[in-house]
Every structure is written in C-alpha cells, then in structure tokens.
Symmetry: C2
Subunit: 182 residues, 2 copies
C-alpha cells in the first residue's frame, strides 16, 4: 500500500517536556505535493484488566486535569525509559491497586488518536493473585473500586467509562468470555 | 470527590498549531503541593459505525504518519470550529465513504489519552441509506473497505484494529447486538 505513504522531508521540535514532545514535520504526500504534520511523541503506556476469582476488576478513579473531572479507569500508567511493557504494567497494578497478578497475557495494542499522536498503549489481562493496599506515586491521588465485569460492560455502554483504553479492554475481555461460552 | 481535584495556578502556551495547541500549567495538588501538567488541546473528533442492510461496516485505510503505517479505522474526522458533532460525522461519512446514513444515534464519548490530552471523540452509529463513492479532502488519501461486524470484532480481538475509537465502537455495537439477542 505504498501509494498511501507520506515521506518525511524535515522534522522540527517545538516542545520537549517531562512526558510529551511536540514536533512539526514537512511531509511529501502520495501525489508529490507537500503538507505539514503536527505530531505528539509519548513514551507509551500500559493498562490492565485484572480479574479476581469472583469476576471483578479493580478500577481507579482520579482527577484528569485536561477534562477537569474525575474519570474511572482501569489501572494504567506510562512506560519509564527503556522499560518492558509487561514489567511496567505489573508495577502499575502494584502501585495503584496493591495487587499482584498471575497468568498475564497481552490483549493487544491501542493507538489513542493516530492522526497526530504516536503513543502506543499496551493492553493486558491477568488474574489477581494477591490483593492489597495501593501505594500511589508521590503527587498521585486516586481511589480504588472493584466492579464486576458484567457491570463494567454496562457502564461502558451507558457512557460511564469514557476513557479509551478502559472501554476497549473491558469490552475485549467480555467479548472473549462470550466467545468461550458459545 | 473534591479531595482529588487539582487547581490551575498558571497556563502557558508553548505551541499553537493548525490542529493542536500545547499548554503547560502550574497546578495545586489535593495536598497543597504544586506540580506541572503538559496538556494537548484539540478541537474534538467524531467517528461512526455505519451498518449496511446486510450487516457490514465501511472502514477506511489510511497512512497514519505518527506510526508510519497504514491503519484500518472506522470513518472519522475532526470537528471544524463551532461545528455540531452530528453534522461533522455526517459530513465525514459522506466525504470518506460517499454514504448517507439514517437512524443516527450516539454511542457515547471517548477520551483518547486523558493524562495529557483534552480531545473528546463523539461516537455514533447509523444505518447506511445510500452508498456511493468517497470524496476525500484535498491532501487526504484513503481506501474504503466494507467488513462484516462479526469479522471486525474478530479483527479487534486479533489486534488488527489498533485504533482506539475503532476498537471501542466495533465492540460496543457488537455488545449491544448480543444483549438484544438475549
């Protein structure tokens, strides 16, 4: 599908931050004309649906500053430099929820907003082996709540889980369980 | 849940672009300490699952520059300034796929990456009334393919639809149809 491809002509950084960088590239389009692309660079993230023996998942409620509202999400976080995604997601589950998982498996990747953002969120599922207390990072404030998978699916359908990774992972886990039952 | 809230102290723009702006805010955390937040502003987007009479959905394949790869997505686009999301999604379906929808309904909202990005993607479903030819914007290069809903669900589970809005909307539409059948 090379006839869709865009070629980089120049890359110019306008911002390098703690978490994100912003770059504006000149590109050559498939018809030979040129345009610009505004690009956010991000180190990548992880997210986990961690199932208890009685079919519930831990969720985290935290204030999401860009929306100025409290959002209910599955445990998640960003990759440290050079960190393996599986190590990162185990760390986040321990920090945010205090739980340790078993039977870890990949649930695929998520591109949050592929028009301008290069972040990749790695999705995982696991079983909760040991539940405990959360130990959030300094400057991180959150509440943990366990919700049954079927109730979380209904919350996603009712618009109560707007976060992209959370909706996707809850619905994927449920779709898998439905397929196994048929 | 005011005990989770972060208060804005200052806002500083570092980039104002064609599509996105980047702002760094000083904030006061719930414990009275201060931190910074790197924020992307975006006008918002729309996405549609448009079902044909025989249960297929039009998808769009296009080169996504941040990932340097061709990504398969449901028809989508960004809001023009002041545009109503429903008008925007009808416009995008006509431009990208050449189809006109009927029985439009909201499928909720999507927050792509709520840690740093303020974009809201408005999700819709409709029935395809009139199919036609795509009329992409100048500088927009894409291919259209119709895929059966059940096959799209399997593609999402197999990791072949990494785009967040696409995975979410396909799985939501399928979950709704499963609930109706039970």
């Amino acid at each position: 599908m090379n006839f869709l491809e865009e070629k980089t002509l120049t890359e110019t950084y306008h911002f390098k931050g703690k978490i994100i960088n912003l770059r504006v590239d000149d590109v050559e389009l498939p018809d030979g004309s040129t345009s610009i692309r505004e690009i956010i660079e991000h180190p990548g993230g992880v997210c986990v649906a961690a199932l208890t023996a009685d079919g519930r998942l831990p969720f985290v409620r935290q204030f999401r500053y860009p929306y100025k509202e409290v959002v209910t999400e599955l445990p998640a976080g960003k990759l440290e430099r050079g960190e393996d995604p599986l190590d990162a997601v185990k760390r986040e589950l321990a920090e945010e929820v205090g739980a340790h998982g078993a039977n870890w498996r990949s649930m695929g990747k998520l591109y949050p907003s592929p028009g301008y953002c290069g972040e990749i969120i790695h999705l995982y599922a696991c079983d909760i082996d040991i539940a405990g207390e959360s130990h959030p990072d300094e400057g991180e404030f959150l509440e943990v709540e366990y919700i049954a998978l079927a109730d979380a699916v209904q919350m996603a359908l009712d618009g109560k889980l707007p976060d992209a990774k959370t909706q996707t992972l809850v619905l994927k886990l449920w779709a898998e369980s439905q397929q196994k039952n048929h």
